[in-house]
């Protein structure tokens, strides 16, 4: 399942790549203002659309609900900008399918972490430490968009955070699910395109703020 926002230039290739191995690609256009929706309608077997931009967390939840309703046995999250490698996804899906775990999470630090820019590494490390303290979950890469869930795990992931704080919320849900988790080493392709599209480090603080408000105000 690929949440998509303004990715018309790359999304056709990303969908085609994933589709070459996994035929049931669900794409959720999160209210893009470019031609993303037209591209998805032509290239995606399951194109869904948010009429208004509601954030990646909401898009992921829409795709998950749809996939579960269609009877999906496993659900994978894959980023739309081409930063994830298909071979990593294949390994993770196999891990869940073989019963190694119910939740497979990509970990960019245990693989070839040299591709992660130094400053980004520092910010992400801060996030990891934060989650160790508040959620008590020992994960090594908490904001990686590459994830695979078994059907029963996907049912437990009910994201309410709209914006990027959903990654933090997911970690809480994962920690509370009591299902077996495994981290898989993955390599992120930090292209100029994905870096430009990606999160700015200042967003880390916005995420922290929204996350804390959600924890307090519910």
């Amino acid at each position: 399942m690929i949440p998509v926002f303004n990715e018309s230039s790359v999304i056709a290739d990303v969908v085609a790549e994933v589709r070459s191995v996994f035929p049931n690609v669900v794409t959720v256009d999160d209210g893009s203002s470019d031609e993303t929706w037209d591209v998805l309608r032509r290239n995606s077997p399951h194109p869904l659309r948010h009429l208004i931009n509601r954030g990646q967390g909401a898009a992921i939840q829409t795709g998950t609900d749809y996939a579960l309703a269609q009877g999906a046995a496993r659900i994978a999250h894959f980023d739309a900008d081409g930063q994830h490698r298909l071979e990593d996804l294949v390994r993770m899906v196999k891990g869940v399918a073989d019963g190694e775990c119910d939740i497979a999470l990509g970990n960019r630090f245990s693989g070839d972490a040299s591709t992660v820019p130094a400053f980004r590494k520092l910010i992400l490390r801060g996030g990891i430490l934060f989650h160790r303290v508040v959620s008590g979950v020992r994960l090594n890469d908490v904001h990686n968009g590459l994830r695979v869930f078994s059907r029963r795990a996907a049912f437990k992931m009910e994201i309410t955070a709209d914006r990027m704080a959903h990654a933090s919320e997911l970690i809480d849900l994962i920690a509370r699910s009591d299902l077996p988790i495994k981290e898989f080493p993955v390599t992120i392709r930090y292209s100029e395109y994905s870096k430009a599209k990606g999160q700015r480090w200042t967003n880390g603080f916005r995420i922290l703020f929204h996350y804390l408000v959600a924890r307090i105000a519910g």
Partner: protein, 123 residues
């Protein structure tokens, strides 16, 4: 009374009558309307006799009535921000639910989303 006092009091009385009518017709909950009326009355009294606020402030250990009003204003504004922020969050969340539901209804072979609460029946 100075012209500015007259203008401020006129505004406060106007607001008070609005709140009074809204409370009487139950457009606003009565306790809330009453609270507003009390606050507006305090405002009118403070405008009529600003020195009285200093007497109250002294009683609270603050030197000037102006400072007391400033503190009260800061608290009121912060509380207002918080209430609006929480309301906005709620509206956003409701909007998200609608947009998400619509996306699934419009999907190819679309069917309403299941309620993802009970997973015991799942294989």
């Amino acid at each position: 009374m100075t012209p500015i006092q007259i203008a401020i009091i006129a505004c406060l009385v106007g607001l008070a009558s609005f709140v009074g009518i809204a409370g009487a017709t139950r457009k606003i909950a009565r306790p809330i309307a009453l609270l507003w009326l009390v606050m507006l009355l305090v405002g009118i009294l403070a405008t009529l006799d600003p020195n009285r606020t200093t007497v109250i402030a002294r009683g609270l250990g603050i030197d000037r009535g102006t400072d007391l009003l400033l503190y009260a204003l800061v608290l009121a504004v912060l509380q207002g921000f918080l209430i609006f922020y929480l309301r906005l969050r709620k509206v956003r969340r409701e909007l998200t639910i609608l947009v998400r539901r619509l996306a699934i209804l419009e999907a190819p072979g679309g069917s309403p989303a299941p309620e993802p609460t009970d997973c015991t029946e799942q294989p």
